[in-house]
Each structure stands twice: as structure tokens, then as C-alpha cells.
């Protein structure tokens, strides 16, 4: 019993510094309400033990006073050589100190949004593109990127559709599947890779406003060497996978053909 008692306080100290503690408060039934009120949680956390650190308010006041005006040198003679340029007062001054609302469920930034994918879209599925310059083409889904967009490819050899990002919304997922478990996608294929490149001149113009706005933009889009490399690698692997799957020749001509609605066909009644 004695040795146990000795060990315990040591253990607690260790736990404090290393392990992250469980939150003491929790929301009730996924609502805004919390189980413990602010006063109650103050007691539970023993926050009265925590020493308050006083923020040095004087320093900030001094800073504000110091920044009230800027001393600028002026030319000419017999005029003092300097002027105090005072800061303009803001257009509106708050009459009350803005209270900081505690956000129990703060707004999520776009990066943190949950990305969903339709249940019938899985890597290796054949998709029908419904919009864009490749509309009507049947392409192979490779994976879903971080942003939620789908990474597809024709393969380019079959229908001219390159490695490309595509939105789920503009796509019909068919039931046809190709086994792409053995297709190794290059690591660098991510959203940044496919991000549209703005020409340097244009970006400078938008920032400064002084660049020649009538200057011609950069030459038309040229495929980079790494794109060619990645396309060739993925195409080769994908063509192998198509060959290996049952009915390879039919699948090849299927991916080469374009989709269209024929007379008498009703998309809502069709199985894809």
C-alpha cells in the first residue's frame, strides 16, 4: 500500500506534462448547449488555482501614442525641414468594446470541409463526362483528390482525354469497372499539380496596376515535360489493366466511343 501511494503523485505529474487531457466539457446531443455552464466548468477545472498573467497594458498604450504621427523630412529652406504627419482618424470608431463570442461550432474554412464522393464512384470506374471540352467521352476514374475533384484520364491514347480534374457533378458513373489496383499513380499528382498557372505579367499587373494592360498575355498553354511523362506512365499502366480485364478489345473500343442519348432513350429510366 505504501509504495503505491508514493508512486501516484509522481505519476500524476508525469501525466500532466506529456499526455493530452480529455475535454472536461461536452455538447449535449450535438446542439449548442454544453453540459457544464461557465461557472461550473471554472470549478471543475479548478481554474481559481491558475494564476492570471497580467498583460502589460501600458506598453501598448505607449505604442499607440508613439504611432500617432510620423516625422517626415521636407525639402526647401526656412521651413523647419521636418513635418509631423498625423495619422488619419478612422472613419468610424467603435462605441463599445466588441465582445468575443465563444464559437462552439466555428465556421469551417473551405479546406476543412468534408469531401464526399458518390457511392457508385470508385477508382477504376468508367465515367461519362457531361460537360467541358471532353463531354461525351468515357474516361477512367483514378482517384479523388484532396479538393474533392476527381482525377480522370481517357486514357489519352484511346480518346484524347488527358490526366485531368473533373467535378463529380458533371459526371455519370457507370457500373463498368477496371481493376486499377496495380496501376501506380505518380506521387506528384495532386491539386497543386493541376492548378491553373497565371502568367507572371498578369499577376504583376493586378498587384501594381502600372504594367501595360494592353501587353499580350503569354503564349498559349504548352504541355510541360512532367505532364507528358506522367501521362505516358499512367497510360501504359492503364492500357495494361484494360488488356488484363475481361473483354479487353471491346473495352478499348468502348472507351474510344462517345456517349449520346438516342431517340427513345430516357436517361432517368436507364441503368448506367
Amino acid at each position: 500500500m505504501a509504495p503505491k501511494a508514493q508512486k501516484k503523485p509522481q505519476g500524476k505529474q508525469m501525466a500532466k506534462s506529456s499526455a493530452p487531457h480529455k475535454p472536461k466539457n461536452s455538447a449535449i446531443n450535438a446542439s449548442r448547449l454544453m453540459k457544464y455552464s461557465r461557472a461550473r466548468i471554472f470549478q471543475r477545472k479548478a481554474a481559481y488555482k491558475v494564476k492570471k498573467v497580467k498583460t502589460p497594458a501600458k506598453k501598448s498604450a505607449e505604442k499607440a501614442a508613439a504611432a500617432a504621427f510620423v516625422v517626415k523630412k521636407i525639402g526647401g529652406d526656412k521651413n523647419g525641414g521636418e513635418r509631423k504627419v498625423y495619422k488619419k482618424t478612422p472613419k468610424s470608431l467603435p462605441t463599445q468594446v466588441a465582445s468575443r463570442k465563444v464559437q462552439l461550432r466555428p465556421k469551417k474554412t473551405f479546406k476543412k470541409h468534408v469531401r464526399r464522393i458518390r457511392s457508385n464512384l470508385a477508382p477504376g470506374a468508367v465515367l461519362i463526362l457531361l460537360a467541358g471540352r471532353h463531354k461525351g467521352k468515357r474516361v477512367v476514374l483514378l482517384k479523388q483528390l484532396e479538393s474533392g475533384l476527381l482525377l480522370v484520364t481517357g486514357p489519352r491514347k484511346l480518346n484524347g482525354c488527358p490526366l485531368r480534374r473533373v467535378s463529380q457533378r458533371y459526371v455519370i458513373g457507370t457500373k463498368t469497372r477496371i481493376d486499377i489496383s496495380k496501376v501506380a499513380l505518380p506521387e506528384r499528382l495532386n491539386d497543386a499539380y493541376f492548378r491553373r498557372q497565371r502568367s507572371a505579367k498578369k499577376s504583376a499587373a493586378s498587384a501594381g496596376g502600372s504594367a501595360d494592360i494592353f501587353a499580350k498575355s503569354d503564349a498559349a498553354y504548352a504541355v510541360s515535360a512532367e505532364r507528358r511523362e506522367d501521362q505516358a506512365a499512367v497510360d501504359k499502366a492503364l492500357m495494361g489493366a484494360i488488356k488484363a480485364s475481361g473483354d479487353g478489345p471491346m473495352l478499348r473500343s468502348y472507351l474510344r466511343s462517345l456517349f449520346s442519348i438516342k431517340s427513345g432513350q430516357r436517361p432517368h429510366a436507364m441503368v448506367f
Binding site: 468508367v126 457507370t174 457500373k175 473483354d247 473500343s253 468502348y254 456517349f259 436507364m270 441503368v271
Partner: protein, 151 residues
């Protein structure tokens, strides 16, 4: 109107056209009144129930059932008459199956079907062309308009 050879009678095998159990066949076990019958399809998964005649399409099959037969009796007679096989052998059932298959075709299936048709049609047209070449005069259809023009 066609022949009045399918009667609403006890033992008549009927096809359920709509509602729950649509697409299944059953036997009429009893007649309730002008519009309703008691149906039972133990071998096809149709529970014994009263059904409106408007939902039923009568088939050409008839079981020798005594009226108000219970489900076990219906099952026995159904199996003895080998009705499942006889029903699926009818062109009616075959057409239904064909319709079901067509509706369940995926995009790839439709492509394969169209491609197969194309291949077959090409073979046919090539054969037709060669036949036409060898015996063109014999194969020509008598042109009625030609006769009129000459006269």
C-alpha cells in the same frame, strides 16, 4: 374481341400486373364477388390474399383445384402440373424476361449490343451484296410502277 377462352374460375392461373407482387403468377383459389378473387401462389411467393380482378391478367393455364383449397393443396397441384417451367416457357414470360434484361443493361452492355448488331449487319449486307452480284436479275422484285409506266 378475341376468343372468350380464359375464364375467371377456381384454379385459373393469373398474372399479377401491378401493385405488390407484380410480375408474379398465382392461382385463383376462390371467387369472392364480381370484382374480387382469393389468390394464392405458394410456389411463386404470392401470399394468400384477396385480390381485385383489375390487377390480374388471366393466363392460359388452369389447375384442377377444388374451391377454397388451402395453400398446401395449391402447392401440391402447382408442382404436379409443373407450372413454373410451363410458365417460363411461354412467349409471354419470355417477352417479360427480355424486357427486364433490356432495362437492366448497363452503358457498356448497350455498347456491346450495338457493336454486335453492327458486326452482324455488316456480315449480312456483305453476303447480300455478293448474292445480288451473282444473280441480280432473279433477285429483283417485280416493280409495279414500272408496269404502269410502260403501259
Amino acid at each position: 374481341m378475341g376468343k372468350l377462352d380464359k375464364f375467371v374460375q377456381v384454379g385459373r392461373v393469373a398474372f399479377i400486373a401491378n401493385g405488390a407482387d407484380s410480375g408474379k403468377v398465382c392461382a385463383i383459389a376462390e371467387i369472392v364477388d364480381q370484382n374480387r378473387v382469393l389468390i394464392d401462389g405458394p410456389c411463386t411467393g404470392v401470399r394468400r390474399q384477396v385480390c381485385d380482378m383489375k390487377r390480374l391478367h388471366l393466363t392460359g393455364f388452369h389447375l384442377p383445384l377444388p374451391h377454397s383449397s388451402r395453400t398446401a393443396v395449391v402447392r401440391r397441384k402447382w408442382l404436379a402440373a409443373n407450372l413454373d417451367e410451363r410458365w417460363t416457357g411461354t412467349s409471354w414470360a419470355k417477352k417479360l424476361e427480355a424486357r427486364r434484361l433490356r432495362a437492366s443493361m448497363t452503358d457498356f452492355d448497350r455498347f456491346r449490343c450495338a457493336r454486335a448488331k453492327q458486326i452482324r449487319n455488316r456480315i449480312v449486307s456483305v453476303a447480300m451484296g455478293s448474292l445480288r452480284k451473282t444473280s441480280s436479275a432473279k433477285l429483283r422484285k417485280p416493280n409495279k410502277k414500272r408496269h404502269l409506266r410502260k403501259a
